[in-house]
Symmetry: C2
Subunit: 347 residues, 2 copies
């Protein structure tokens, strides 16, 4: 790639507003139909989600959104139970919904969970960027992201679109018209977040050589912490870890050394106080806290006025841009990090 | 502590055979009564478990054991949904069991999940070392570990006893008399594992300064990978991370540099091939693989003939001894690592 030419990754980061807007629009009829049918089956008591990698972080967002809005527990599936131990993913006829999320729709273990659920007579839903994939074929219903081919190994626009489609699905399942309407603002908010990140990130370049980076987020933005950590790890090779504040304090903080950069996802919401307390504990150990927030003194500023449940779609942006920028400054191969592949087939 | 005097941690590691034996014996009547009552309520469709830190790793073992043996999905609870967002832990009257695991029984977020479940009319079970704790008071039923006070901040004997009690509970709930009987061998197997670890670990001391350590395990022993990583992290300050092979391959392997010690939990069982493939991928990146296995050429040898479902009680032992030994060689404070406390109250 010659100087000045943009990477696939940078282009895909910038495509996110359009991608998630298109994913939302495309799936209005499917979301309407699938949620109507699910409501007709009687009350759901649980949701099981199978996913890996970035899609597993989208599943984490779904866990919090479904838990907070619908009061339904979400189990993140352990696919090896099905593929290695031959156990059913859910009991026959359980009052459950099983969702699989996979950009490629081609990881056999994720497909296996959906097939097991379908065989048990439990409704299944695939969220994928490939409607022709084995995953889509195995599901009762499909929400197709339709964001076009993602060329960078590190997923960005498929993550944004996955979150948007999950949010639309949960809003409609809960018959929350206000939430459904609020999603219309998401593309513009993401656009603004990209502009702000491109301004703010270069000031943080001195940290780009860090071998260990911690990312803290809670509630809806626990997913953001995990996803930003995964981008940093994939793109820069840093050991980047996402934690919720309680998980960090129950042991792992012991490994945070002085000078460790700590990204703090402190966007407004009910968990903000808890996240700021964790930031103080990190500072007490000498960590260099980098705040992602909507206040003027934030290190990485977010657009203001974003509802907490919607904020993960926006708050991940500065983390993506930071990971891209640190990878560039460090001379890393951005689009195809060594040892990673776009479709990872695991069993 | 003068030279030659043992740490609380070392004493507690050595107490594990007696501790888990006593926990099993003490809980025979309670396990019998609780499982009889649960079976009388009709088929369970889901289990939700709330836990933090080491207890969360015990919960992970329960997730695999309940999934493999009973075919019931287990959701690891996100307590903030209850404490921060006010959502119910489970829908009213759900065909569920909610379990909380906590050595101290004093973390308000874990107690909150159990209280929420009880208010929803769903049966609750506490597994704790303190029958006088708020957690025990909040539960319909209690399995008391009864292993005596654990003085080391890093939990060992409460982990062993938690796994044993979970195994006894699941065996009885599934009316699996052979599994119940097999548990009688656990104390002797753990005793033998401690002897073997004390012989094998010193040869690995040159790795004790590693800043980053990876631990890989799958299926039942995914819990082992997570728990060994947590011990290494708490005791040595290394950034130690536990991964399942698929999770490692879906991105995080990008952060494994040449020379990184990688502990490979390769004890016999259905997932062994998958774990050995991950070890090869790690070696391809230059990682220094340390095999925990029951073969003669294992770096850390386990006793032979342990059933796969029972092996996490045994396979964690060399990891505990390794973490203790590397902490001693590195001059770390073993019993009370800086910044950690025995009871971590999170909300």
């Amino acid at each position: 790639m010659s100087a000045g030419e943009r990477s696939h990754l940078e282009r895909e980061i910038r495509q996110q507003p359009a991608a998630l807007g298109a994913a939302l629009e495309r799936n209005v009829p499917a979301v309407e139909e699938i949620t109507r049918e699910l409501r007709g089956r009687g009350p759901l008591e649980q949701v099981v989600i199978a996913a890996r990698g970035t899609s597993d972080n989208a599943a984490r967002y779904a866990q919090y959104l479904i838990g907070a809005r619908l009061g339904i527990p979400v189990a993140l599936a352990a696919p090896s139970l099905t593929t290695m131990y031959g156990a059913p993913a859910v009991p026959r006829g359980a009052r459950a919904l099983v969702i699989a999320i996979s950009q490629s729709g081609r990881s056999p273990d994720v497909v296996g969970v959906l097939e097991s659920a379908r065989a048990a007579g439990v409704p299944t839903l695939a969220i994928t960027n490939d409607a022709g994939s084995p995953l889509a074929a195995a599901a009762d219903a499909v929400l197709e992201l339709g964001v076009g081919i993602e060329r960078s190994v590190a997923a960005t626009k498929t993550y944004a679109a996955s979150l948007a489609v999950i949010a639309a699905f949960v809003a409609r399942l809960g018959e929350n018209a206000a939430a459904t309407a609020a999603l219309d603002d998401a593309p513009a908010l993401v656009e603004r977040a990209i502009e702000l990140a491109l301004e703010g990130v270069p000031a943080l370049d001195p940290h780009h050589r860090a071998a260990h980076v911690v990312v803290v987020g809670r509630g809806f933005n626990y997913a953001t912490a995990l996803e930003v950590a995964l981008k940093l790890r994939e793109l820069t090779g840093a050991v980047a870890e996402g934690f919720s504040p309680p998980d960090l304090l129950h042991g792992p903080i012991a490994a945070v050394a002085a000078g460790t950069p700590a990204l703090v996802v402190a966007s407004p919401g009910r968990v903000r106080g808890s996240v700021l307390e964790a930031a103080q504990a990190l500072r007490d150990r000498g960590a260099a806290c980098i705040h992602i927030d909507d206040t003027p003194d934030a290190d990485l500023r977010l657009p203001a006025g974003v509802a907490e449940w919607l904020s993960p779609i926006v708050a991940v942006i500065p983390g993506q841009v930071l990971a891209l920028r640190w990878a560039q400054v460090g001379g890393h191969v951005v689009d195809a990090p060594p040892g990673l592949t776009k479709v990872t087939a695991t069993y």
